[in-house]
């Protein structure tokens, strides 16, 4: 994402230095490039050679100097970015800012919506996995009812009888979470390959990346928790010892 801060022709060297320092100290800024009036003039002539004569007739260089600032992709998700841009805009020596604020705000709300949908679907999937594991364990308890009864008669402890079912639930949880991490990895690697060009501007905003190792461990731990809870829920209801 790029923002261009146009400087006032009357801006003093001290003011320009202050603006430059403010921009560079921001955590949202990835890169900053100063563009002089002459550079802007040359760029225009290269881009629009057919308009060269018209520019000459103006007599003077109409292009103000500017700072082209590349912001971090994550800056789109942050509300503070608008505050930062406003802050620079109000600094003495800055004349104008080139940024489609409405567009940024729309993208931000789209991002919030996507996140909310993500959490909602995630919640549903967590609940679904809980019930699926719980049902698998319940069916296994029923299938092994005869064996459980014999174990009780020969003096098995509750833990001895329940532990295999609990471990089974945890294993299912771990396998499920590992599988989802694998699929996510493939998706992240393959999605931009196939759809990268069709995404257009969205590609700038959507940050395709695999989960960090701590996030992946968190997902696995979640699987263990869901599997364990799903088993325990079934065992408490269907395995009366």
């Amino acid at each position: 994402m790029m923002v261009v801060f146009f400087l006032s022709p009357d801006a003093t060297a001290a003011e320009i230095g202050d603006i430059e320092q403010r921009i560079q100290s921001s955590p949202y800024v990835v890169r900053m490039k100063p563009v002089s009036s002459e550079q802007a003039w040359e760029r225009f002539q290269e881009s629009f050679p057919e308009l060269r004569e018209i520019l000459k007739s103006l007599g003077a260089n109409p292009f103000p100097p500017s700072f082209e600032v590349t912001l971090h992709k994550k800056a789109f998700m942050s509300n503070e970015i608008i505050g930062f841009i406003e802050d620079i805009k109000n600094t003495k020596g800055v004349e104008d800012v080139q940024l489609n604020r409405d567009w940024v705000e729309k993208m931000q709300s789209l991002s919030r919506l996507a996140r909310a949908i993500g959490f909602f679907l995630g919640g549903i999937l967590i609940l679904a996995s809980f019930f699926i594991i719980s049902n698998v364990i319940r069916l296994n308890v029923f299938a092994r009812q005869g064996e459980i009864e014999i174990l009780r008669f020969v003096g098995a402890t509750n833990t001895f009888i329940r532990l295999p079912f609990l471990l089974e639930g945890i294993t299912l949880g771990v396998l499920g979470s590992a599988l989802s991490l694998g699929l996510l990895f493939l998706l992240v690697k393959l999605f931009p390959l196939y759809l990268g060009h069709s995404l257009g501007a969205l590609q700038e905003i959507i940050n395709f990346r695999t989960l960090s190792s701590s996030q992946a461990l968190g997902i696995i731990a979640g699987g263990v928790l869901m599997g364990g809870m799903g088993s325990l829920s079934s065992l408490s209801r269907f395995l009366k010892i």
Binding site: E149, I150, F153, V154, G155
Partner: protein
């Protein structure tokens, strides 16, 4: 060893499955509990191994009132007992060896010791040569002997059997009873529920007669006959 005091059991209001049963089983006893169907024989056995609780009365096993035993400690009582059911309750997807070994696995016996004790239990019932067969490949009588081997493999102090010869022909039934007698000789107290009069006449030492949940007679044969 097992002391039953005024045991009564009511499943439904007004219908007593057992009423005021008193019985003392000593170490090395061989008891038959007999009576017609519905007389309460199985109910009495279930109360002794604490599958169900009596409505009234107390039971002392090895000095412990088992009715006061919390649910999570019932396993301690069951480890002192071997139980044989009329329908065997074998695991047909496991080999004979694994069926018998199950009681040793739960108490954490090392595998080498399990092999030795399973072989010994199967030799007692004369099935050691079929240790690696599946129960479905065995005859009815052989399956019952596997169930007996499973019940005695951990050398219980008490052996309970509910109609262990119910579906067997007289010859097989006598063979099974001989196995019980052999186990009894080793010091295990045996309680067998049966309505087979012929069998009781041949093998009975101490007999408890039940009718509609009540004791209608006890018979203790002279030791010379035992």
């Amino acid at each position: 060893m097992i002391e039953l005091y005024h045991i009564s059991k009511q499943y439904q209001e007004g219908q007593w499955a057992l009423l005021d049963i008193n019985l003392h089983v000593m170490k090395g006893d061989f008891w038959f509990i007999t009576g017609p169907s519905g007389s309460g024989k199985s109910t009495l056995l279930k109360i002794i191994f604490r599958e169900i609780l009596p409505t009234r009365g107390q039971i002392i096993v090895d000095g412990i009132n088992i009715l006061r035993l919390p649910d999570h400690q019932i396993y301690k009582l069951r480890r002192t007992m071997g139980i044989v059911f009329q329908d065997f309750r074998l695991l047909f997807h496991k080999r004979v060896f694994n069926n018998v070994a199950i009681g040793l696995h739960v108490i954490g016996v090392p595998i080498k010791e399990i092999r030795r004790r399973v072989f010994s239990a199967l030799r007692l019932v004369n099935l050691h040569q079929k240790m690696w067969e599946y129960p479905s490949h065995l005859s009815y009588g052989e399956q019952q002997r596997v169930a007996i081997a499973r019940a005695v493999v951990n050398e219980p102090r008490i052996l309970l059997a509910d109609e262990p010869t119910g579906n067997l022909d007289p010859e097989l039934a006598a063979e099974i009873m001989s196995v019980f007698k052999e186990i009894n000789k080793r010091g295990t107290s045996v309680i067998i529920c049966s309505h087979d009069k012929e069998l009781i006449r041949h093998f009975g030492d101490k007999i408890l007669f039940l009718f509609k949940g009540k004791i209608i007679g006890k018979e203790v044969l002279p030791s010379s006959r035992r």
